[in-house]
């Protein structure tokens, strides 16, 4: 509860971007089903969800590339939907980079400044500064075709940031990059955003990326918001079973399994893999149980176990596994967990607050 309060408190009462009742129909399908949220000045806000959940549609509606069927969007108190896209002053970073292939790196970055009729000397200063920020100064006269995906996306970021837009939108900017680069650029984006202090909306389907980069995350599914909260809230206190399973891995099991009491209103229990422990053989507290190992995967800093127990398949994650830990498939092992770590969901998949299942 403390995290929740902190997350709210930090940006509370500073609604900068305000989306109210956003609805979007494509023919018979509904891409957005009444979505409302606010983003504060300087906040890094992430829309997270599986593909087709409406997050990109929402982002493009804010940018003006797609028109909402109904709803209101205001930025700094003014109605955004009445403004044509090119006058919204909203920076955008694209999934496919959208770098102009016929312009040099420097001209790409200067492109938006030229539209704003800024003096040539100032343009060159600001371009140089932006390129230095994304560490591309040495490549300023190159054509983009010769650059890697990571470099192209850096141009995209510099190009969007250099005009000092009122809001920065990023549509899965890292999804076309390879894993290592994704991590580096992720941190860079976060640093740059903090330094400039711009409000940013970031779209991704990668839950780890969302947890790592965001001030707040908005988890979406099928055109609706499932939960808005800080990364800690989203991971630690998922509001729905969808959020619980989509963000991280979750073991789900039936109400009466593993000797748990039948609590009224609870349709399903959930437990994070890292909350399952290897127990001493023969230990018999009331939350320990025996299971049959299906897979054991050693990953160095952690190990993953897939275990069949009482008709459920559970995943356990063992941090810092000892070097001699080797569990072959088919072996029976003893696992345990703290009941305090359990989360409960009702039949509709909503979180049920249960005070200490004793």
């Amino acid at each position: 509860m403390r995290n929740w309060a902190r997350g709210r408190g930090f940006f509370a009462g500073m609604a900068y971007l305000n989306v109210e009742g956003a609805i979007k129909h494509y023919g018979a399908t509904t891409a957005l089903n009444g979505v409302s949220f606010t983003v504060a000045k300087g906040e890094f806000f992430t829309l997270l969800g599986p593909s087709g959940c409406g997050k990109t549609t929402l982002l493009r509606s804010i940018a003006g590339f797609s028109q909402l069927s109904a709803g209101r969007v205001t930025l700094d108190g003014t109605d955004l939907l009445a403004v044509p896209p090119h006058k919204r002053d909203i920076g955008m970073v694209f999934q496919d980079y959208a770098i102009f292939p016929h312009l040099t790196v420097a001209d790409n970055v200067a492109f938006g400044l030229k539209a704003r009729k800024i003096a040539a000397s100032e343009i060159s200063d600001r371009v140089a500064e932006a390129l230095a920020t994304v560490r591309l100064s040495a490549l300023s006269e190159r054509l983009p075709a010769a650059l890697s995906g990571g470099q192209q996306q850096r141009i995209g970021i510099a190009r969007a940031m250099v005009v000092k837009p009122r809001l920065l939108l990023m549509d899965e900017p890292l999804s076309n990059l390879d894993a290592k680069l994704r991590l580096d650029l992720r941190d860079e984006i976060r640093d740059i955003q903090r330094t400039i202090g711009i409000a940013a909306i970031y779209v991704t389907h990668d839950q780890e990326e969302a947890l790592a980069i965001s001030d707040r995350i908005c988890v979406m599914d099928s055109g609706s918001i499932e939960q808005i909260g800080t990364p800690q809230q989203i991971y630690g206190q998922p509001a729905t079973r969808f959020v619980a399973s989509f963000v991280g891995t979750m073991n789900l099991f039936a109400p009466a399994a593993f000797g748990l009491p039948d609590v009224p209103g609870v349709a399903q229990w959930a437990l994070r893999p890292e909350r399952l422990r290897l127990a001493e053989a023969g230990a018999s507290d009331d939350s320990s149980f025996a299971g049959l190992v299906e897979h054991f995967t050693y990953l160095g800093r952690e190990a993953h176990l897939t275990v069949q127990a009482q008709g459920h398949r559970l995943v356990a994650q063992i941090a810092a596994p000892p070097a001699d830990l080797a569990i072959e498939a088919g072996r029976e092992i003893q696992l345990s967990f703290d009941r305090a770590d359990l989360q409960a969901f009702d039949a509709a998949g909503r979180r049920v607050r249960t005070e200490r299942v004793a």
Binding site: S66, P85, H86, R88, Q95, F100, H102, L169
Partner: protein, 557 residues
């Protein structure tokens, strides 16, 4: 998606502009395509007094003459297809998979074959293998009998060498893109080389092979010049349609239009068959391992080189012969021993207006094609509606219309009020324009789809209005493609014969028409030198296109 915002934009003049483009596009198609085609249909079921009659259609099937032409058209169509497939696939396989010395030279020869002015092909074959042909005469002198190259076999040989580049260019591209790992996997799974080719490589290149074959087939049934010159009594629909239209006495427009309709129907049926075939056979695979070219040794290498050079030189031979004959010494229409530039000086002295007509008409139609084709291409590529699909589908019609049919249709439509254009330059320009428009629309739509909407959106998000974004980002990106397309349209326009032949009058005569007339008059020196000028013009345009596009011969198709 920006396209939606872009085209459907909020207020301003933009939606009106694109609606205007759509309206203009339909107006053009209705006036230049649908009305002429409708009148062709009407004229084929009317007699001289304007009564409704099926007499023309009846004659098509009852008169031995027209029925023969119908059968003959199918024969030369499929014969040309078979020849082009044979030569084209041999060439494609050798060039894509075997190291051939002088590969660059070979592909230039293939391009020469493709852009050789019409007629000159048939004429050059006559020069070598006709009754008085040099090669035939020489062989006869050695006591070897050789039949002259007239009739069906002559036509088929010319078609095979003329149309093989369609198959070759498409198939070699596909063959070079078959992932080598697939063939290795097949080999690894125990298939013999022959099984491997039949079960893996062949199905993968089949779409390209059938597309190339279709082009050969459509061009073969539409070809007018070759059967006209080489047929000697072997008539096809295109020649009969021209004869029916142009006969001095008893010109029969009704019969000409009936034959034209049969030609269009035939082309359309073949297009649909090919589309159906390749729709079921489109495979996507990643290209990690490019196929390697094998180095052959000994006899196999000699055989491969012989095959490739035989085909390449055979195809380019008409162009080469024309170039040589253009600098032979002439006295009037008669060739003299030795070389000289009389033919060219005669062109400069008397045929300047013909050259000027050709350049003027081609330039004008290319300008129209580029401007209107690009606009319609934008519409088709960015506005994905039922309406734009219908527009795209309608544009397929001129794609399959033989030139002679366009000519006859334009006569049917524009010879009487309200719009009289016969005898003007406009009618020739517009006939070339409507035939080539589908290519321009498709190529600009394809270029636009390659650019993708997100760069335009990026420009808009940076503060440029949609129109500015289009002008500053999209246009520069598709411009090389548009100019290259214009060059290729110019090649088609400047070489266009069959529709101009129906539409020309004394003052609007063009180079290809003049070549046809010169050959008929026995004035071969003039024909050869005009052909050479055409070749040089086409060659320069293609060189320019390749400089802009990167060298990709497939763009020529």
């Amino acid at each position: 998606m920006s396209a939606v915002a872009f085209l459907a934009g909020r207020g301003g003049w933009r939606p009106d502009f694109w609606t205007l483009v759509a309206v203009a596009a339909w107006a053009i198609l209705i006036v230049l395509l649908l009305i002429p085609l409708g009148l062709v249909l009407v004229s084929s079921v009317r007699d001289e007094s304007g009564e409704l009659t099926l007499a023309n259609w009846q004659r098509l099937f009852t008169s031995a003459r027209y029925f023969n032409a119908l059968v003959n058209t199918l024969i030369v169509g499929f014969g040309g297809l078979a020849g082009a497939l044979l030569l084209g696939s041999v060439m494609a396989f050798c060039m894509a998979r075997i190291q051939i010395a002088g590969g660059r030279f070979v592909s230039i020869m293939a391009i020469l074959a493709l852009v050789s002015p019409p007629f000159i092909g048939a004429y050059s074959w006559i020069v070598l293998f006709g009754s008085g042909g040099i090669v035939r005469q020489t062989l006869m002198g050695w006591g070897i009998f050789m039949p002259p190259i007239y009739g069906l076999w002559g036509i088929l040989i010319v078609f095979a060498f003329k149309f093989y580049p369609y198959v070759y260019l498409l198939t070699s591209g596909a063959l070079a893109n078959v992932n080598r790992s697939l063939e290795e996997a097949a080999e690894n799974l125990g298939l013999t080389p022959f099984q491997r080719v039949m079960k893996i490589s062949f199905p993968l290149v089949l779409p390209a092979l059938s597309a190339g074959g279709l082009l050969a087939l459509i061009h073969a049934i539409a070809d007018f010049g070759t059967p006209r010159l080489l047929g000697r009594g072997f008539n096809v629909l295109a020649t009969e349609a021209y004869t029916a239209y142009s006969a001095e006495i008893g010109s029969n427009l009704g019969m000409a239009t009936t034959l034209s309709l049969v030609l269009i129907l035939m082309s359309m049926i073949f297009v649909f068959i090919q589309r159906y075939m390749s729709r079921r056979n489109v495979y996507h695979s990643n290209l990690i391992n490019r196929p390697e070219k094998i180095r052959l040794r000994g006899f196999a290498s000699v055989a491969a080189h012989a095959a490739v050079y035989f085909i390449a030189l055979g195809g380019a031979m008409p162009a080469i012969i024309a170039a040589i004959y253009s600098v032979r010494k002439t006295n009037g229409p008669v060739f003299q021993p030795g070389f000289g530039l009389e033919s060219y000086s005669r062109i400069i002295a008397t045929l300047g207006d013909v050259v000027r007509n050709s350049l003027l008409f081609s330039g004008a139609s290319v300008l129209l094609i580029v401007v209107i084709g690009t606009l319609i291409g934008c519409l088709v590529a960015r506005r994905n509606t039922a309406h734009s699909s219908l527009l795209d589908a309608t544009l397929m019609v001129p794609y399959v219309m033989p030139g002679i049919v366009v000519g006859v249709a334009f006569i049917a439509a524009f010879n009487t009020p309200p719009l009289v254009m016969t005898g003007t330059a406009a009618i020739i320009i517009l006939s070339v324009f409507i035939r080539r428009l589908p290519y321009a629309v498709r190529s600009s739509a394809a270029a636009l789809r390659q650019v993708g909407p997100s760069v335009e959106e990026a420009a808009i998000s940076l503060g440029y209005s949609p129109v500015q974004a289009f002008l500053k980002v999209t246009i520069p990106l598709i411009l090389p493609g548009i100019v290259a397309g214009a060059m290729l349209s110019f090649v088609t326009a400047v070489n266009e014969l069959s529709s101009s032949l129906v539409l020309y009058v004394g003052g609007t005569i063009t180079m290809p028409v003049k070549i046809y007339i010169a050959i008929n008059d026995g004035d071969y020196g003039t024909a050869a030198s005009l052909s050479t000028i055409l070749l040089v013009l086409s060659g320069s345009a293609i060189y320019l296109a390749f400089r802009l596009l990167g060298r990709d011969e497939r763009a020529l198709l």
